[in-house]
Each structure stands twice: as C-alpha cells, then as structure tokens.
Amino acid sequence: MDNPIRVLVGKVGLDGHDRGVKVVASALRDAGMEVIYSGLHQTPENVVRAAIEEDVDVVAISILSGAHMTLFPRILELLNGKGRDDVLLCGGGIIPEKDREELMKLGVGNLFGPGTPTTEIVAYLEKEIAARRGK
C-alpha cells in the first residue's frame, strides 16, 4: 500500500479568514492524505520549520494579502536552504497571471484561484507526488 501523501496546509499573511484553507484541508484528508493544519498568520519561517519537522511532500499555502511575490519566494528560499527543494510548494490566492508565471519560473507549483473545485487540487497533488515518488 502506498504511503499517504503528507501536506502542510496553512495561511501566511495578515488576513484572518480560514474557511477556504479549512475546506481544502478537509478535502485533502478525505482524499486519504495526512494534512497538517498549521493555522493562520504563519511566517515563512514557521511554515518551513513545520514542513521540515513534519517531513511533508507538499506545502500548500494560501495568501490573500497580496504579498505573494515576497512570501512564496521566501518560503522557497528557506526550503532550499535546508536542502528540501524536493518539497512541492503550491498555493492559492488571488494572483495575477504575470505574477503566477514568474513564481512558476522560480519553482512554485500550481497556484489555484479562489473557487477552484477541491477535486482539481486533489488530482493535481496526487499526480504530482506520484511522479516525484516514482523518480
């Protein structure tokens, strides 16, 4: 039997709504993943520390505050600094197409807009992690 995919789900930045991330967290759990929910107002340092200790396959971060162009690269940089560039960093938020492309070039995975069906997120993670584990 395959080992469950472990995902860290959290929210970085100042805005205080967690309904979206909770919906995603439960959808991932229902898809058989082990979801570590880390809560609101996370700093990139917190996120990366948790990702390391929990040895996750995926870090899924929601950023609605508009600071995505600094926060995503910072998380990537910290992960790389720990030798964990194998972790898939993806996320959600309202992110303009131009920024999305730039972030993907840096190595960030899919960024899902608000209202994306959770089935789409699940399918993406399953496919992406299967490919990475297959290597």
Partner: protein
Amino acid sequence: MGGDRVALARAMTLVENGSPGAADLLDRVYPRTGHAYRIGITGPPGAGKSTLVSRLVGELWKGGSKVGVVAVDPSSPFTRGALLGDRVRFQDLPDNSDVFVRSMASRGSSGGLAFKTGEVCDLLDAAGMDTVIVETVGVGQSELDVAAAVHTTIVVLVPESGDEVQAMKAGLMEIGDLFVVNKSDRLGAERMARGIEDMLRLSPARHDWIPTVVLLSALRGDRFPELLEAIESHRSHLEESGDLAELKTETARSRIRDLIDACIRQQFWATDGVNEQLDKALELIAAGGSSPYSAADEIIKKFTGGRG
C-alpha cells in the same frame, strides 16, 4: 541537532512507513535511547491538551531541557486520511533545535500498519531530547498503548467533558498518574477537581502511587510550577521503586513480541498453498460442509506442522 533536523524528520517517516531500512535504523538507534523522560498526555478532544503541551514545552525549555513532542490524531478508517491540527497551538514555541514537534496520524487501526509512536519517541530520545511528550486523544485503544510506553501519563479533563464518572467509563481514571483539571477559569472546574480527588482516594493505589490532581488554566498558564513538581515527584517515585527500569524491560518485551508476531503472520500468509487452501475451505463452507472454525483448524494443522 542543527542540520540533523531534516535527517531526524526523515528517519521518522521511514520508521512510520515501515520502509526498508527502518528496522536497521531502529536497531542502530536503540543503544542511544533511555535518556529521555517520557510523558503521555491524554484526554477528550478539546480538553486543552495541545495548549497544555505547548506551555509545558515552554516551561521545560526555560528550565534548560530539550523537548520533543509527538502529537497523535486519529486517521479515518475509511480513507486513511487525517487532519492533524495540534500544531495550531504550538506557535509560540522557541524556534530552535531544542524543540521538535511531529504530528502523527494513528494509522494503526486501518491498513494493518502497526502504531509506531514508541519508535518515533525512540528517535527523539536518541537525538538528545531530555523530555519527550506524546499527546493522544483519549477515546480509543491508542492512549492505552501510549500509556504503557511512557513514564508519566497525564489525563486532562475539563468540566465540559462530563463528571468523573464519564472519565471512569472512558477508562481514563485507570491510566492517569496525574490528573489535570484544565480551564480552571470555567465554572465547575474546582468541583470536578475535588470529585476526582475523592474518587482517587477511594480507588486502590496502583504501584503505591496515588495520583495527584492539579487544577489549572493552560490558556492563562498559571500553576505550571505545581504541575512540574507533580511530574517530578512521580518520576522520583518511579526511580526509587524500580518501576522505571521495569518499564524499560516491559517495553522491550512487548516490542519483541510484536516484531515476532508480525514476522510469523507475514511468513504464514506467504506460505505456498495457504491462500489456495483458504479458497477451498470457503467453497466448502458455502456448500454447507464446513465452518470457519474447523477450516482454520485444518489450515493451521496443515501448514504449521500439526499444532492447532
């Protein structure tokens, strides 16, 4: 630990998944275990266990200890998925290598994987932690297994979780070495603490130890010195009575038995012809010519050399 945090986390995954190499790793690590004092924290959901653990880690760390935490939440038996939310309460912990927090899904109940909490604690122990804290939800079998593998078991109760009779029904009264009545800021907490004290006085002492009851508020963080003192005196009791050494032997004994059980089971089902024989027996049962009991008996006799 420093850069070894990544390695430690990876080792936990290896052990938890029972991947190839896990047994070798644990074998190498075992001689370096035995240093850490192990505390189990259990109680109903929402009792404030994680809040308490977070405070306790802070206090122990301030006292110069390195602390590892394993927070266990249940896996869904249907999907094997789990939502591990304890980290939400661990935000204020010192961000350095003296503190290591790991969330674990109970898995065991589904998919036949063994429950690996004890082994994950071993890894933290071997990594140099002075204290290892295991948080489990007190609703099933898992906290009994955990209670058997830690030195001090703390049961956390709150007025909302019902009275001490409820706790007794859930089997929590028997496993607690210490009882914390949390949310002392809430109505009924004090009465509950007294109820538990009365009940404990009336129960027979286990191993010459009468559990202490500490009334506190994990949220406000008061009365932690009392809690630390209570833990410390239980520890002294275990050391002086020799129970500490006995616990280590008993843990080793049950590990050996578990490993042998798993090995024999696996060998048995991998034996040539066993599954064919099982299919044949099922046909016979369907035709009304046998029962599961005589079928099991025959299969065991045939494949294990006559013992049945």
